[in-house]
């Protein structure tokens, strides 16, 4: 029961983060630019629990946010980006040269690649690739900031098993 309550509340937190992002659109002519606040939750779980827990909560978050604020297409892009990001973060975390900040940057860049792959599948190569350089630079900056936020959270919150 404690487990259910824990994952329920952390999923709720993740959905709120998704809602906050939904409220702050970065409409600068390039589709898909987001702060990536929602990535704090899978990062936190990756460090505190494990890959399996992170991916379950992240998938739940994407489905819920997609149903609430998005559509079938946005769910597909988010799932593709979110899952690739999580796999990359999991692998980077294993390397001792990266802190949470580096793991977050890698995740943010991978998130774009994952979404791009979904976009390639939907609309064909040439169009989507042109956005990649801009998206990557933005991802490094937002990934850095989100990584710092996640570091604070991971440090401050202690979980009892």
């Amino acid at each position: 029961m404690k487990k259910t309550a824990f994952y329920g509340s952390i999923l709720a937190f993740a959905v709120i983060m998704g809602y906050v992002e939904f409220l702050i659109p970065f409409n600068i002519g390039v589709p898909g630019i987001k702060l990536g606040l929602a990535n704090i939750v899978p990062l936190f779980l990756l460090y505190k629990k494990g890959f399996k827990e992170a991916i379950i909560v992240n998938t739940g978050r994407i489905l819920l946010c997609g149903i609430l604020f998005g559509n079938v297409m946005s769910i597909m892009y988010s799932l593709s980006g979110g899952t690739l990001a999580l796999i990359v973060m999991y692998l980077l975390k294993k390397l001792p040269v990266f802190s949470t900040v580096g793991v977050s940057v890698g995740g943010a860049v991978a998130h774009n690649l994952g979404q791009l792959l979904a976009a390639l599948w939907v609309i064909g190569l040439t169009a989507a690739v042109y956005y990649l350089p801009v998206l990557t630079v933005v991802a490094v900056v937002t990934g850095f900031l989100v990584g710092i936020a996640a570091t604070l959270l991971i440090r401050r919150i202690r979980l009892k098993d």
Partner: protein, 113 residues
């Protein structure tokens, strides 16, 4: 706070930015004036138009409606009934490789030589 950042973080960030800049420079250098405007819906060509001839093209598909306008050698999407309107806020395009995408309608407007 800065103390938690490791060397690897900085290297990873720098490599990503450098790669992005290189790809951007490559895209920019490979751009040139094109004249063919190609509109595709769902990966299939909807129509091909000349950039030098002003006209308005209503693009209608089962997903929705976009209005593509060619004027003064620039292409813009002036109206759309998609939810995000990224395509409408996109600046006008006039060089090869430049594209306007409307993801919800699976519409792309490209310029080719």
């Amino acid at each position: 706070m800065i103390a938690v950042i490791k060397k690897g973080d900085v290297i990873l960030s720098a490599v990503c930015v450098i790669l992005a800049v290189l790809v951007f420079v490559f895209f920019t250098l490979s751009k040139s004036d094109g004249d063919r405007v190609i509109i595709s819906v769902d990966g299939k060509t909807f129509g091909e138009y000349s950039l030098s001839k002003d006209r308005e093209i209503p693009v209608e598909s089962q997903r929705g409606q976009n209005t593509v306008v060619i004027k003064n050698n620039k292409v813009t999407v002036t109206a759309a009934d998609c939810p995000d309107k990224y395509c409408v806020s996109h600046v006008g395009i006039d060089e090869t490789g430049e594209t306007i995408v409307c993801l919800p309608h699976r519409l792309t407007v490209e310029i080719k030589r």
